[in-house]
């Protein structure tokens, strides 16, 4: 206990030392400052950097299999020269195709949109926005990142296995994932996948435990729960969902590892491979699906909730209006959190489970429309008659709202167990989840990066490049995923290597080409963002202390990478974070959280 006080007093001394010494760093080497850093702002940037690398890999893989789907009859000798082990005679191997689809899903869901989205913004924003020196445990925080690195190394190296990476889909359903002889990727590739995911869960839990205890224990004076910005609320609920759901993935994976290596039959029953009956008996593959989707469904909320928080905060700042329905936003987050644990079996309507269970899960699934709709209405009403600044963060937020509506509406279709008979495992599902959690979450992330870039690097990102990036990505995303709804309604199944054999789907050849071209264009457009990002770090326009004129505490802390965040004492909070355009006669249209209430405001009943 004394140590914790001594650490804290050290931080205080350190911060004061910096304030007087003009930013002089004592005994900090490059390695301790940028690599094995314990500072939450640096760890946030580390998560972002690794996440960007993963996004390039994950997006690149999708381009490769989109080439196969768009031009199944053509050959691509150039691609064979680069990816020689995945191509034969200029064409993608079917086994490689399944590996690429699996790895694309795994990388995007876990490594980019879970680890990197939460990791970046929780680390960057939580201590700054609640007015803390750092996380509750900076060491655990750093460990969380380094476990993510370990998971990344294992997962990335599996791409280079001679037998190929895991190929059972990101949902790794047994028996495909449980029997090494089932497919080339089910051997070493699957083993690497499982090891990487266990490391990944450790990383997520270390981070999540830390975020929750930081938010609940380390808020500065005056920062009550209902004065927290919505980003912090969203991260809090995200972390709670992660804490409750990821351990169940561990139990699921432990049983799978036993089935793979030690001859148990938790998920396996009466299987014949190559004319030989295997000695497994009595297991249930549906049990795996229940355990997996108990994580798998909350997982999609782990992806989307931080994006929702970012959008709520950025929209309020950029439209110079208080967020509409602050408490409604919090309670709808709570509603989504609770409901996320009650809907998992809607992924399994046709797995052979009891149809009466299906109707129950349909009911809960459709209930999610209520908190989601509350959030959508509140974002739109926040924009309504606002003094909107049209800049890149705003555009990405509006894009997010648009995508969330388009993707959310199809969720109502898929949530119905009867409609799901026709639509399950078709491109309709692919379209739905890519729009609502994939692209939408990316838009939230982009909005956050463009908005908090000055906080991270003290410079602004280039607006023109931002506009171009937004326009291509927004239009491109719809061109990719909108036609997939029609493919799905026509019954085109997902995960197929080629549709050449099917007369019924021949008419969609051109549509598939359009989708593939759009996918390649959107992928290339992300390099505009990357160039903008890297260029702006070094050459961007210098940012002022509070470039967006926002109320939250991260803009109160001095810019730069000050260890301990505030040079002197921590700020005291007097008001909620959304006092924008409050007084018509005031010179500025914002009142930071550190400004005490006026006499008139005190007399008002809040």
């Amino acid at each position: 206990m004394q140590t914790s006080t001594s650490i804290e007093s050290h931080v205080d001394e350190h911060a004061q030392h910096q304030a007087h010494g003009g930013g002089h760093h004592h005994t900090e080497t490059f390695i301790s400052k940028y690599i094995f850093s314990l500072d939450h702002k640096t760890i946030g940037k580390q998560f972002l950097t690794l996440g960007m690398l993963w996004a390039i890999v994950g997006g690149g893989l999708s381009v490769l299999f989109r080439v196969q789907l768009g031009w199944p009859d053509e050959t691509f000798p150039i691609l064979e020269r680069i990816f020689s082990s995945w191509f034969t005679d200029g064409k993608l191997n079917p086994e490689a195709y399944y590996s690429l689809v699996t790895m694309h899903g795994t990388i995007m869901v876990f490594f980019v949109l879970t680890a990197s989205l939460s990791g970046t913004f929780a680390n960057l924003l939580v201590p700054l926005q609640i007015g803390a020196r750092d996380m509750a445990s900076p060491l655990m925080n750093a460990l969380s990142f380094w476990f993510f690195v370990a998971a990344s190394i294992v997962m990335f190296s599996s791409l280079f296995l001679s037998s190929g990476a895991a190929s059972a889909g990101w949902t790794i359903y047994p028996p495909l994932s449980a029997l090494p002889q089932a497919s080339p990727g089910s051997g070493d590739g699957m083993t690497f996948w499982l090891i990487a995911v266990v490391l990944f869960v450790v990383s997520t839990l270390l981070g999540g435990l830390n975020y929750v205890s930081t938010i609940l224990n380390m808020r500065t004076k005056g920062m009550t729960m209902f004065k927290l910005p919505l980003t912090v609320w969203a991260i809090l609920f995200t972390a709670i969902v992660g804490i409750l759901s990821f351990p169940v993935l561990v139990s699921c994976v432990v049983l799978l590892i036993f089935d793979r290596g030690l001859g148990t039959s938790f998920y396996l029953s009466n299987i014949v491979i190559g004319g030989k009956a295997l000695p497994f008996a009595g297991g249930s593959p549906i049990l795996f699906q229940h355990l997996f989707w108990f994580l798998g469904h909350p997982e999609v909320y782990i992806v989307i909730l931080p994006a929702m928080g970012i959008v709520s905060e950025v929209l309020a700042v950029q439209s110079r209006k208080p967020i509409f329905g602050y408490q409604a936003m919090i309670f709808s987050l709570l509603g989504i959190t609770v409901l996320s644990f009650l809907v998992w079996a809607h992924h399994m309507f046709l797995s052979g489970m009891n149809p009466f269970l299906g109707s129950l899960f349909t009911l809960f699934t459709l209930l999610i429309a209520i908190p989601s709709a509350i959030k959508v209405f509140n974002w739109i009403t926040t924009l309504w008659r606002g003094n909107i600044r049209i800049n890149t963060p705003t555009l990405f937020c509006i894009g997010f709202v648009s995508l969330f509506i388009s993707g959310g509406l199809t969720g109502i279709w898929l949530g119905n167990s009867t409609i799901d008979i026709q639509l399950h495992d078709t491109y309709f599902v692919v379209a739905h989840f890519h729009i609502v959690m994939g692209v939408a979450a990316f838009f939230g992330m982009f909005a956050g990066i463009y908005h908090w870039f000055p906080r991270m690097y003290g410079r602004m990102m280039n607006e023109t490049l931002g506009f171009i990036h937004f326009t291509i990505t927004f239009i491109g995303a719809y061109v990719i995923f909108w036609p997939m709804h029609f493919l799905g309604m026509a019954g085109v199944p997902r995960r197929y290597y080629t549709f050449n054999e099917f007369e019924a789907f021949a008419q969609y050849d051109d549509l598939n080409k359009v989708i593939s071209i759009a996918a390649i264009v959107v992928f290339l457009a992300q390099f505009i963002f990357l160039i903008n990002y890297v260029w702006s770090i070094f050459k961007g326009k210098k940012a002022t202390q509070n470039p967006w004129k926002a109320n939250t505490l991260e803009w109160d802390a001095p810019m730069g990478n000050l260890h301990g965040n505030w040079p002197g004492e921590l700020p005291e909070v007097h008001r909620w974070p959304y006092d924008y355009s409050k007084f018509a006669d005031s010179e500025t249209d914002f009142i930071p959280q550190t400004v005490p209430l006026t006499e008139a405001e005190k007399n008002e009943k809040h």
């Binding site: 206990m1 140590t3 804490i243 759901s245 497994f280 297991g283 108990f294 700020p571």
Partner: protein, 207 residues
């Protein structure tokens, strides 16, 4: 920086305990997953056949509960500055905790002799019992590792001469660290005991 800022201390100490509570919740969720899988599988019937749990698991139950009492004594002694009692308490917990793991291994061996084995067992009840108890024992053995660290830490403080000023200062820091260690360890160890009780009762009733 705001001109109205006043000094406010962050509560990192409470955060440590709180983080441990959260960790306990995550660990509970692992076993919630296992026991629900157990119930689902049992409900499917099939080749599921119950078996008697060997008596040695009663001994391990007694061991882990007694060890919890010793650790609580050590924790309270440490708070009161009684380093000798702390060290003895930690040592006894360490011994009993290790014995618990030995008992579990012995129990699995006895089950193996009774025909309750892991690989290619037509009766799914056996593998469930073995995997659930194994994952619990894995958690206990990691906690034993941390107990060992705390024990040597306490022993180190007990043996160290306290005549120089610098050592005094160092020691007060070290004592603080030991206090955090025993505090968090005690929480987790009690949880391990309660979890084992739950698993034992759950498995006895369902097998």
């Amino acid at each position: 920086m705001s001109s109205t800022a006043i000094k406010y201390k962050n509560n990192t100490q409470g955060a440590h305990r709180f983080t441990m509570y959260l960790f306990i919740v995550t660990t509970s969720m692992i076993f919630a997953g296992f026991t629900s899988a157990f119930i689902v599988q049992k409900g499917r019937g099939g080749a599921w056949t119950s078996f008697g749990i060997p008596k040695i698991f009663i001994l391990s139950t007694i061991l882990i509960i007694t060890s919890s009492i010793f650790l609580q004594i050590a924790h309270i002694a440490n708070k009161r500055g009684n380093m000798k009692l702390t060290t003895i308490g930690l040592f006894l917990t360490l011994v009993l905790g290790s014995l618990f793991c030995v008992c579990q291994i012995e129990g699995w061996k006895q089950l193996n002799d009774l025909g309750v084995y892991l690989s290619f067992n037509p009766n799914p009840a056996g593998p469930y019992f073995l995997v659930i108890t194994f994952v619990h024992a894995l958690h206990v053995s990691v906690a034993v590792l941390f107990l060992t660290i705390a024990f040597f830490h306490s022993l180190f403080l007990l043996k160290k001469p306290t005549d120089s000023n610098i050592v005094h200062k160092l020691e007060s820091n070290e004592k603080g660290l030991l206090a955090i260690r025993t505090d968090l360890l005690t929480l987790f160890w009690h949880f391990m005991g309660i979890l084992w009780l739950y698993l034992y009762i759950f498995l006895s009733f369902n097998l």
